[in-house]
């Protein structure tokens, strides 16, 4: 089945409901219900679910453009994670699911998940342990945001395993899955950041001409476009391969390269925008703060460089065989 109709439907929905002011209001604790009901009611959460189970039957590669579009609008819902968990786990309850990058059981039996993206708008959090994973109801958790200025990610804590918890069978690499989804978010959001930065450079005049006509600005924007293109390709690689969950090495490269692009893309965007980019009321910060948060979520480039490096060294083959041609098939 083609993803195009879904992409167009999603873009219409996002343009109508998921405006920067709406994202801003959700970040400030406002209701997400309007957008949430629209997204839930449109069946997007089941796009990856096989047709035999009544889903959309799309592949991960098919939904890539849909997720890039969500990221361009900073969709404040974990639709991406929900899609993936529902595809893998037939008995996923209704509602939005966020994946926890990290889950620990404390000595007193409490369960702690740190740095969970979109915990504030999720109904469930998937907490992965050594051999199993479990869906924990967010309503039963104590939550606090570790980031000042908005609940992009949050830490959650359950005093004990809640009765409503639902087991997710199978030994899956949910950390790699989350990393791949964050890579797609980074690439999508960067795409928008580049577009608004180019528009600002064309619009803003200093010394009697648009910023875009200064060679120093042009060269920086060229570098930014390169990084955005590399991030987009890296994220696309994360959508490659068969199966509902990404290949660990493809996810590793996707997250490493997109995360590495974040500091330069964000800093060039702000440099070109000047002081207004720092202003709270200007939308750029909605994007760049998320880029920085998503860079850290599910392992920064430093984490994945180490993992890729260890894989590469353990494999005796040259880099093209050990890593590169396995990622780019």
């Amino acid at each position: 089945m083609s993803a195009d109709p879904f992409l167009h439907a999603m873009e219409r929905l996002l343009a109508h409901y998921c405006t920067p002011s709406f994202v801003r209001s959700v970040e400030g604790g406002g209701a997400v219900a309007v957008l949430r009901d629209e997204v839930a009611g449109s069946g997007f959460a089941d796009l990856l679910v096989p047709e035999s189970r009544g889903g959309g039957g799309l592949s991960r590669a098919d939904v890539g453009p849909v997720l890039f579009a969500c990221a361009r609008h900073l969709l404040p819902l974990p639709l991406d994670a929900t899609m993936m968990v529902r595809a893998v786990n037939a008995s996923t309850p209704e509602g939005f699911v966020a994946i926890a990058p990290h889950a620990t059981i404390l000595e007193d039996g409490a369960i702690e998940c740190r740095g969970v993206p979109d915990a504030a708008t999720a109904d469930w959090v998937l907490a992965a342990f050594e051999q199993e994973a479990v869906l924990l109801p967010v309503v039963a958790a104590e939550s606090r945001s570790p980031l000042a200025g908005g609940p992009i990610v949050a830490d959650l804590r359950w005093r004990s395993l809640p009765r409503a918890a639902v087991g997710v069978p199978g030994n899956h690499d949910w950390f790699a899955a989350g990393a791949m989804l964050m890579a797609a978010r980074i690439a999508g959001a960067m795409d928008h950041v580049l577009a608004v930065t180019l528009a600002h450079a064309a619009d803003r005049r200093q010394f009697g001409k648009p910023l875009a006509q200064f060679q120093a600005i042009q060269q920086q924007l060229a570098v930014m476009a390169e990084e955005v293109a590399a991030a987009r390709m890296a994220a696309s690689l994360g959508f490659g391969g068969e199966g509902m969950l990404p290949d660990a090495l493809q996810a590793a490269v996707a997250k490493a390269r997109t995360s590495e692009a974040v500091p330069s893309v964000a800093s060039i965007a702000h440099a070109v925008h000047g002081a207004i980019g720092i202003a709270a009321e200007f939308d750029l910060q909605l994007f760049t703060r998320r880029l920085h948060a998503w860079r850290l979520a599910f392992g920064s480039e430093g984490h994945w460089h180490g993992r890729i490096g260890r894989m590469l060294l353990a494999d005796g083959a040259p880099v093209l065989d050990a890593v590169v041609r396995r990622v780019v098939r």
Partner: protein, 383 residues
């Protein structure tokens, strides 16, 4: 805006070439030392080029009727990737294979194609490119070398500089002025084929900082050219050169120039009992960049296959690629030097020194980094 590059897959028939190329390279490069392999596509070995040609691997994408392999750019991608990964000395046929051949195919007369292409494919004719001059570097449109009408033909005078492999090439395709003055800029420029054995051609090799003499200065002192010396249209040299440079910028050679050094360093690291975390992370970082760049380069190849001319995309991939090529020796030197007590194989150090020293050329040859970024800015609608 620049459209996103879509991931592309190498067709199985083209991928199948890899196995044959590897077997060939195992046989032919067995005793080639690391520092020779680290020279990548600057290595020159006419005998190797002819052995490759005997397998049909020079002019792989040129049509069969002109002696070529008639294969797709994806097949060439596989071939080039294996040659570069192995550090094969491809310099002798390199320019003819990737630039002059495709240029002649696109713009040449039937007679030019019949004469030159089969010789290129047999690795009998090696080509060099005459672009830079003493006063014309990045500002290529300011070239002063002139071809004046002389009877049926042309009389060439002037000077080219930094011409790679001119002393060992048979022909040069030069960008010269055929009308007007340097003030006319892009107007009045043409591409001409020059037989480097012709009277009046003087070639002086220039030693580079690594002790190699791959580039040179070439003087034209009233060199007589035939009526068929022009490639393509007289006065259209600028447009043709721009198209030619799209070939130059789109290949894996703009990603892999430091690959032999990187693999040699990996082998060194694998032999270390407890490699440090910064070295491991560096290996992973470079591998992640290589993977993404390869995907981008393949996406550009797919555009060439589709008949597009992805000039801006190629510039973008080349700038990212040469940045990584230059990062590799810099970063490897740092992690190697971080353990002064550890023994390092002298051949690895020699390869590192070579790549470090020539690395500045990676973002000069075929268009400087600043020129490429200017092209990208134009693609973004900024100029």
């Amino acid at each position: 805006m620049i459209d996103a590059l879509a991931p592309a897959t190498i067709p199985a028939t083209d991928e199948a070439l890899r196995h044959e190329v590897r077997a060939f390279l195992r046989e032919h490069l067995r005793d080639r030392p690391l520092e020779a392999r680290a020279r990548s596509w600057m290595g020159f070995d006419a005998e190797f080029s002819r052995a490759l040609a005997a397998r049909g691997w020079v002019g792989l994408t040129l049509p069969v009727e002109y002696g070529g392999g008639g294969r797709s750019p994806f097949a060439r991608f596989v071939l080039i990737e294996e040659l570069l990964a192995a550090g094969a000395p491809v310099g002798a046929h390199w320019i003819a294979d990737r630039q002059s051949g495709p240029l002649l195919l696109k713009y040449g007369t039937e007679a030019q194609k019949r004469f030159h292409l089969p010789r290129i494919c047999r690795a009998e004719s090696f080509f060099c490119i005459g672009m830079s001059e003493p006063q014309s570097g990045s500002d290529l449109a300011s070239v002063r070398t002139r071809a004046e009408r002389d009877g049926d033909g042309w009389r060439l005078s002037g000077q080219k500089l930094w011409t790679t492999h001119a002393p060992r090439s048979h022909f040069m395709i030069a960008l010269v002025r055929t009308s007007g003055t340097p003030d006319d800029r892009q107007r009045g420029l043409s591409q001409v084929i020059v037989d480097l054995a012709a009277p009046g051609v003087t070639i002086r090799p220039i030693l580079d900082l690594a002790g190699d003499a791959h580039f040179s200065e070439v003087f034209f002192d009233d060199v007589q050219l035939g009526p068929d010396a022009i490639v393509g249209q007289e006065g259209e040299g600028w447009a043709q050169v721009t198209a030619e440079l799209a070939f130059e910028r789109s290949g894996p050679e703009r990603i892999y120039s430091s690959l032999v050094l990187f693999d040699a360093w990996l082998d060194h690291l694998r032999a270390v009992p407890f490699p440090d975390e910064s070295s491991i992370a560096l290996a992973g970082r470079i591998a992640s960049h290589l993977a993404v760049l390869r995907a981008m380069s393949l996406a550009v190849t797919a555009k060439l296959v589709a008949g597009e001319s992805p000039v801006v995309e190629a510039a973008l991939v080349k700038d990212l690629g040469t940045t990584l090529e230059q990062f590799i020796p810099t970063a490897v030197a740092d992690v190697l030097g971080a353990h002064p007590d550890r023994e390092i194989d002298p051949s690895l150090l020699r390869a590192l020194a070579y790549v470090t020293h020539v690395a500045p050329s990676f973002s000069l040859r075929g268009g400087t980094r600043e020129i490429l970024r200017g092209m990208i800015a134009r693609g973004l609608g900024l100029r």
